[in-house]
Subunit: 273 residues, 3 copies
């Protein structure tokens, strides 16, 4: 079922505007190209809205936000809303500093996001239901497990309803939901957490998938999450005992590059709740 | 014939100042090291001209230009002109926003560039003969093909004459020309377009090649274009069916690392027009 | 002896705050993850001290310093001192511009660093005993050789005493010393100098090693230097004739990912002087 979603990305080749951090930006650009999309990065206030206008989706990632790029995030987000482009938020490190938490919340107040994707600590922080922080990684106490899954699904649906958006909480188990429906996704490998930027890259893919599949945004977001996890599984099988997180990173992008609809259909592991 | 040009880079090891984007900057640094040059990145107005002074070439790339780095581009460019260092412009995304187009044009008014390298959409935009945009990639309507080659060569020569510089329009077919002579280069692989930064990396190589071969700038630029394309061909042969654009990126840099003069001589495919 | 130091990093998983350059930042994040630590990058003055507060070590790298990030370096450094966190300085390109030299010196005046790690040209510049510059690489005239080793050890000890810090001068031969004791380390490969960021990555590892081994800072710094050099040796053995600096970079990070205490114990090559 999800196979068509990646094939549409390859067919339409959406141009995705990314205002993102400088840590993982190269991997973000390469994974968008790997999926068949086209990336552009632009974060100066003098051009942010212009660049949004020529693109068909916007990805805002606060991983290394600063006083110059924050205004560009707002300008681009508002322009994207005007043009009805999909807009995705990756609230990297929300909870780690007041600036990150407040910027993410203010972005959510002033901009209508189609999807908010973060780890469990980030999303809990934004929903103000607690949430610890271990910097940009999820705190162990926040991680979604089999024991906490039912509660986590209810939380995702409630928060999605409250914010009027799709919420994607990703980790060992991923939950992608709107107010009514949640996809519980079990693709991926724990070793993906040892690579910087797997979350950022996933958010890029979500932007591309929504742009190419605008009629079915929830499924498109879930398909992107499955695709990223499946790429992690495929890449993992290539690793030798001498390989580590650097080679694994390249192989994951390579796996997206080679991922076709049929493979995604067969490999996607999810339940609808 | 071009073999000496890369050997001179390895012999002289020029220090190249790069004011460049944060998307592809790591690959830019590594490909300069791979070619035997030495990179330094510095984009603050307080040090830009100082850094230019200790280097022997300057590469200005507007891929993520902003209000802080634009003044540094002008200061560094003027200093490089004073010192008669080769200065190269990579007008990434010219046409994608007013800021990019106007900054690139203003840079070309105030700084004497030895080479301007871009894709066909970027160069056409700057020459104000149309030019569409697909962000940082060339629009299909602008691509140089066998059918449009003769006209494209004439355009490159005319624009080179107008601007008093060498113009390099790169894509499936590359044209590197001054007002009198154009090298039409057929090295490379289409899959290189699926890697972010192959253009940026090429511009770095051009800077290094000109710095190490200052008496023959046109040939040096053409040699750099052949070297990058040939590296793309050599790297492509190493790929397995599981590999994609991430591994391909590493292999291209590796191929530059291992490229000797003899291999470049044998592998360069070009015609003089 | 050094094996415990990396095992403690994996056990404790320190969160390391990095204010660093955008050239090598991705490799810095991945090598910290590879070692078992957790990275966060944050360089805006509005959050720098907050981020420092939730971390357990701070790494300041001036590789692409600018007017916005310099104040963040001071704010974060002072907060780290208040909290008695290990603070490490990587004075990238000190000597290459007045801004770099003066910023590094001022940082050293106002912040108490536990370790200063640089190449021989950078450290000599800071100690004002000469020091040439080749941008971010050491000038040949400054390199530590067998002939200059005894003098270099004496210099490291004297400068360490003067500054009240551990000094790490790294290159073909590494010297890590305080006023009394110097570790002379002979791990590593000359080809590591052809990869951008091996120095930056090493500084990250030093921060993580000190954080996880706070009672033995000198040994922890020396252990990190051995680990990085050993990773370079292990990675080098995997290279084929087609590989170059890009693949080598990935393999070095991979080697850190797989490095256990026993391997580090066996592979560390050092003398105490």
């Amino acid at each position: 079922m999800f196979g068509n979603f990646i094939e549409n990305v390859r067919l339409i080749s959406p141009l995705v505007h990314n205002i993102t951090n400088y840590v993982t930006v190269n991997d973000c650009a390469n994974i968008l190209l790997a999926a068949g999309a086209s990336p552009i990065m632009a974060d100066d206030i003098e051009e942010a809205a212009d660049i949004t206008s020529i693109c068909s989706a916007l990805n805002i990632n606060i991983g290394t936000l600063n006083q110059n790029t924050i205004p560009a995030m707002f300008a681009a987000g508002k322009k994207a809303n005007e043009l009805f482009h999909p807009v995705i938020l990756d609230p990297v490190g929300a909870g780690a500093s007041a600036l990150r938490t407040s910027t993410a919340k203010k972005l959510m107040e002033e901009i209508k996001f189609d999807v908010i994707r973060g780890n469990s600590s980030e999303i809990k922080t934004l929903a103000a239901i607690g949430g610890s922080t271990k910097g940009v990684d999820a705190a162990e106490t926040d991680v979604v497990s089999e024991e906490t899954l039912t509660a986590a699904i209810a939380f995702v649906k409630a928060y999605a309803e409250q914010m009027g958006t799709i919420v994607a909480v990703t980790g060992a188990i991923d939950i992608v939901g709107d107010k009514d429906t949640a996809y519980v996704i079990r693709n991926g490998r724990p070793e993906m957490g040892k690579i910087t930027g797997t979350g950022c890259m996933l958010t890029c893919l979500i932007a591309a998938f929504l742009s190419a599949n605008p009629q079915e945004k929830l499924k498109a977001a879930a398909a992107a999450v499955c695709a990223m996890g499946l790429a992690g599984e495929i890449a993992y099988k290539r690793l030798t005992t001498a390989d580590g997180n650097a080679t694994y990173r390249s192989y994951i992008i390579d796996a997206i590059y080679n991922l076709d609809g049929e493979t995604l259909d067969k490999g996607a592991r999810y339940a609808i709740r």
